[in-house]
Symmetry: D2
Subunit: 326 residues, 4 copies
C-alpha cells in the first residue's frame, strides 16, 4: 500500500486550455483513492509563500469548460536559488504534502526535477503548453484548442479576402516550434507558412505568392510563426510590400488570444486522462516521469529525458502537404 497520503497539484509557466480539466481529474482521482488533496496557487511562488489550499471534489466543480487555470501561474525568480528551493520544500513538508503533480512546460519540469531529486519528493509532470514542443507526448495540453482558435481566425479573414491583389499576414504563437503555424496553416488553407524550423527567403515567398496570383487565387493568407527568422508578420509584410507594391497587405497579430478560450473536447479529455494517470502513477510509486499521450494511449517518459531531448520534429507528411495542398 502506498504511503502517499497527501498530494498537491500546481500549474506553472504559460497557462493552457485544459489545465483546469487536469486539475479536476487530479483532485477527484486522488480523493477517490483516499488521499487528501491540496492546490498550490501560482506555482513555485506559491510553494515559497505557503499559498496552499485544501481541495475537495467541489473545489473543482464546473471548471472543466474554463480556459486558463484556477490555480494561477506565476514566474518565480526566488525558486531558482538554492535557498528558494529549500524554503519551498520545507513548506511542503510542513504542510504534510507527500507528492506533487506539476502541470506546465519545460521550465516547470526543470523545477520539478530539481526539487524531486534534491529532496526525494515524488513528482509526476503533465505537459501543459499550447506549443506542443515537448518530448515524450504526441500532444501537449492546450495545443488542440489553440489550433482551433487560429483556424477560426483564418476562416474569418478568408471571408473578407476577395481580390487577388490582397495579402493577409497572420502571426501565430511559436518562438521555437512551428507546430501551431504548420497545423493551422494547413487546416486554414494558407498559401504559405513560415516556420522557425525552416528559413524562408522573402524572395521565395514572393514567388509563391505571385504564382498564386497568376493562378487567379482570389486571396492569399500567409501564416507566420512568431519565431520565424524574418522577424514577425509586420516585418514580413513590409519586406513583401517593398518588392511588390501593387499588393495591398493586411496584418493580424493574434497574440495571447491563442492561449485562451474554452478547451476543446480533445484537450478536456487529454487533461482528464493525464491527471488521472498522474495520480495513479504516484500511488503506484512512480516519480520523475512525464505523462504523455502516444497514439490513443497514456504513456510515461523519464522526466530527465523529456527535459533534455529536443529531437522531436514536425510531422514529415504535414511538411510535405503544406506546399502540395496550398
Amino acid at each position: 500500500m502506498s504511503k502517499i497520503k497527501k498530494i498537491a497539484v500546481f500549474t506553472s509557466g504559460g497557462d493552457a486550455p485544459g489545465m483546469n480539466a487536469c486539475i479536476r481529474a487530479v483532485v477527484r482521482t486522488g480523493i477517490h483513492f483516499g488521499c487528501e488533496m491540496v492546490g498550490i496557487k501560482q506555482g513555485y511562488q506559491g510553494m515559497i509563500d505557503k499559498n496552499f489550499i485544501p481541495m475537495n471534489r467541489y473545489s473543482v466543480s464546473n471548471i472543466m469548460q474554463l480556459g486558463g487555470t484556477i490555480l494561477k501561474t506565476a514566474r518565480c525568480l526566488e525558486f531558482k536559488t538554492e535557498e528558494g528551493q529549500q524554503k519551498a520544500y520545507n513548506n511542503l513538508k510542513e504542510a504534510g504534502i507527500d507528492a506533487l503533480v506539476a502541470i506546465g512546460g519545460d521550465g516547470t519540469f526543470t523545477g520539478a526535477e530539481r526539487l524531486s531529486k534534491k529532496f526525494d519528493i515524488p513528482v509526476i509532470c503533465v505537459p501543459g503548453t499550447i506549443d506542443n514542443d515537448l518530448y515524450g507526448t504526441d500532444f501537449t495540453l492546450g495545443f488542440d484548442t489553440a489550433t482551433n482558435t487560429v483556424i477560426e481566425a483564418i476562416d474569418k479573414i478568408r471571408d473578407t479576402a476577395e481580390s487577388h491583389d490582397r495579402l493577409f499576414f497572420i502571426e501565430v504563437m511559436g518562438r521555437d516550434a512551428g507546430c501551431i503555424a504548420l497545423r493551422a496553416g494547413i487546416a486554414g488553407g494558407a498559401e504559405a507558412i513560415l516556420l522557425p524550423e525552416k528559413a524562408t527567403a522573402i524572395d521565395d515567398l514572393i514567388t509563391t505568392l505571385e504564382d498564386g496570383a497568376k493562378n487567379s487565387k482570389s486571396s492569399s493568407i500567409v501564416i507566420i510563426a512568431e519565431g520565424d527568422k524574418n522577424g514577425g508578420a509586420y516585418n514580413v509584410a513590409q519586406k513583401v510590400k517593398e518588392k511588390i507594391s501593387y499588393f495591398d497587405t493586411k496584418v493580424t497579430i493574434l497574440g495571447h488570444l491563442q492561449r485562451g478560450g474554452s478547451p476543446s473536447s480533445f484537450d478536456r479529455i487529454l487533461g482528464s486522462r493525464m491527471g488521472f494517470a498522474a495520480v495513479k502513477a504516484i500511488l503506484a510509486g512512480e516519480t520523475r516521469k512525464m505523462v504523455g499521450l502516444k497514439g490513443n494511449n497514456i504513456s510515461f517518459t523519464d522526466l530527465e529525458e523529456s527535459i533534455t531531448r529536443h529531437d522531436f520534429k514536425l510531422e514529415d507528411d504535414l511538411m510535405e502537404m503544406s506546399t502540395i495542398l496550398a
Copy 2:
C-alpha cells in the same frame, strides 16, 4: 403600377457580415413582386466591365450564413471620372436595368447618389459596414457581428490574464468612429477604452491602470480603436511601458478578422429586412434614400442627408458607463 421591371443589386466598399442576407432578400423579394433580378459583381467596377449576372431564387440559396459578399466588392478609380460614370450608366441601360440597390458605406452612397442624380436611375442604399458610422440608422449591417467577434477575442485573452502586472492591448477597427471599441470595450469589461472621438493622454491611461493595480485587479485589458490619436496599440503599449516598466505588456491586432465570420442573427435579420424594404421602396417609386433601422422599425433617410451629416455620436449612457463600470 411600377414601371420597374429589372433591378440590380451590388455591394461596394469594405465587405460586412450580413451583406449576403441582404442580397438574398433583395433577389427573392424582387422575384416575388415579378421583377427580373441582376447581380453586379465587384460594385462600380462591375458596371464598367458589364459584370452582370442574372439572379434567380436559387442563386441566393444557402448564402445567408456566409461572411463576405458573394457579389464581391472592389475599388474603382474609373468610376470617379465623368467618363466612367457615363460608361457605367450606358451599360446598365443596355442591360435593361431600371433600378439599383447599393449595399455599402459612405463611398458607395456617394457614387450611387451621383449616378442616380445625373442619369435619373432610381437607387436605394443599404448601410453595410462594420463601423456603424452612418447617419440615419441605429445600426449598420455587420456591426453586431463585428462586436461579437471582438468580445470573443477579449474573453479569450481574459482567460490568460492572471497577474496584476500584465497589460493587454487590443487594437480594433475604427479609423474615425469608436463604435466597435466602445461597445466591445464595455461588453468585454475593458479597463480602459481609447477612442478616436476623445483624446486620451497616456498619463491619464497610466493613472487608470495603476489605480486598477492598486485595487488588486488581476489583469487589465485596454481596447484601442485604430484611429486613436496615440497611434495604435503598439505605440500605446510602448509608451506605457516606457513609463511603467514593471508592467508586462502584450499586444493583439485583430485586423481583418473583425470583418469576417458567419453573421449573427441580428445582422441576418437586419440585412433581410433592409433588402426587403429596399425593393419595396423601389417598387413604390422611391429613390435616393437610405434604408435604416430606427428602434425596431425600418425607416428611410434622404441619401444626401445620410452622406453629408456626420453629427451622430456615441451613446451618452455608454460613454458614461465606460468609466463607471470598468
Copy 3:
C-alpha cells in the same frame, strides 16, 4: 438628495444570458453613486430565507461573459402567500435594504409590483427572459443570444441536409410567443416556421414542403415553436410522415441549451445599460417601472402596464418576409 442608501438586486424566473452583465452594472453603478449593494440569492426564496450577500465591485468581476446568473433563481411558492410577502419585506427591512432591482419576466414583475405596492419599497424591474415577450421594450435580455444559439444549430443541420427527400424539424423555445422561432427561422433560412400566434394546418405545411421539393430544394428545415398548436416537433414530424412517407424526417429538440451560453455583445450591452439605468432611476426617486430599450434608447414603462398589456406582436415585415424569402 436621495435617501436610498442600500439597494438589493436579484434574479428570478428562468435565467437568461446577460443577467450577469446586468447584475454587474447594478452593483458597480450603485457603488459609484455611494450606495451599499446587496445581492439576494435565489430570488424571492432568498428574501424569505435571508439569503443576502453584500456585494462590492469585485463580487462582480469577470462575470459578464458567463451565461446563467451568479445570484441563481428559484421558484418560490411561499412568496405567493400574504405571510410570505410580509416575511420577505420584514427581512429586507431588517437588512436595511431601501430599494430593489428585479431582473426577470412576467412572474418576477408581478411579485415585485405586489411587494412594492404593499410595503412602499421602491423597485425597478429589468426584462430578463429569452422569450422577448414583454410589453415596453423592443428586446428583452437574453433574446439575442438565444436566437444566435438557434441559428448556429440550424446552420449545422443545414450542412448535412443534402437530398430533397429529407426533412429536418427543429423545436425551439416559445410557449406563447414565437419571437425566437420567427427570427431564427428567417435568419436560418427555414422552409417553414410554425408559431403559437398563427395556426398552421399540417396540410398547408405539406404543400409548402412539396412545393419546395418540386423547386428542387436540396433540403427543408422546419422551425417549430414549442407552443405551436400541432404539439411540438415530434408530433409534427409524425403527422407529416403519415401523409408523405417518402420523406425521411429528422427531429432536433434544442431544449434548455437555448437558455445558456456566453451572452452576445448585444445582450451584455443591453444588460449593462438596463442595470445602469435602473439604479439611476431608483436614485432619482422612481419606482414600479420597467426599464426597456426603445430604438437605441433606454426608456421606462409603468410596471403595471408592462404586466397587464399583452398587445405587442410579431413584426409585420418579418411575418411577411417569412414566406417570401423562404
Copy 4:
C-alpha cells in the same frame, strides 16, 4: 511508374465534418502527381447515373472549412444488386477512371470492397463517420468535431442548471457505439453516461442521481447515446420521473446538428493527411486498404479486416474515469 492516370473520389453514407478537407487533399495530391481527378456525386448512385465531374485544383478551393460534403452522399439500393455493380463499373471504365478513393463508413467500405474485388479496380478507403466505430484507426473523420459540438451544447445547458432538483437528459448520436457519449460525457462533466456497450438499470441511474443530490450537486446532466438499451432520452427521463417525481426533468435531442458544423482543426488535418496518404497509396500500387491514424502516424489496414472486425472497444481509462471524475 504507376499506370494510374485518373482517380475518382466520392463520399457515401452519413456525411461527416472533414470530408471536404479530405476531398481537397485527394484532388490536389492527385494533380500534384500528374493524375486527372474526378469527383463522383452522390456516391454509388452517382456511379450508376454517370454523375462524374472533372476536378481541378480550383474545384476544391475554399471548401475546407465547410461541413458536409460538396460531393453529396446518397443511399443507393441499385448498387446492392449484381446489375447495379456491373453498371457502376462499366460507367467508371467508360469514363477512364483507374482507381477510387472512397470516404465513408462501414457500408461504404463494403461496397468498395465488392467493386474492387469483382472488377479488379484499385480502391483506398478513408474512414469518414462521426461515430468513431471503425477498426484500424484511432479516430474517424468527423468524430472530433462532433464531440466538440456536443460539449458546447452541454456547456450551455450547464449554464442554466441551478437547483439540485433539476435533471437534464441529453441524447447524442451512437446507435451501436458510445464513443461520442463517453467522450462528450466526460468532457462535459456529466453526472452519468448511458452507453450501448453497457446496460444501465434505471434504478442504478437513480441511485447515482440521488447520491449527487445528497452531495449538494447544483445540477445533474445525463448523457444518453441513442443506442442505449433504455430507449432514448425521452424514455429515460420518463422512467426516472416516475420514480422520483420531485425532480424536474428537461430533455434535449441534439439530432443531426451533431453531424454538421465547420470541422475542427483536428478533423481538417486528419482529412488532409488521410486524403494525401490515400492517393500516394494508390500510386504506390496499393488496393483494398483503409487509411487510418494510429498515434500520430498514418497507417493502413486491410479493408476486409476493417469491415469484419468489430473488436475495438471504448478506452479502459475513459470508462474508469467516467464514474470516478463525475
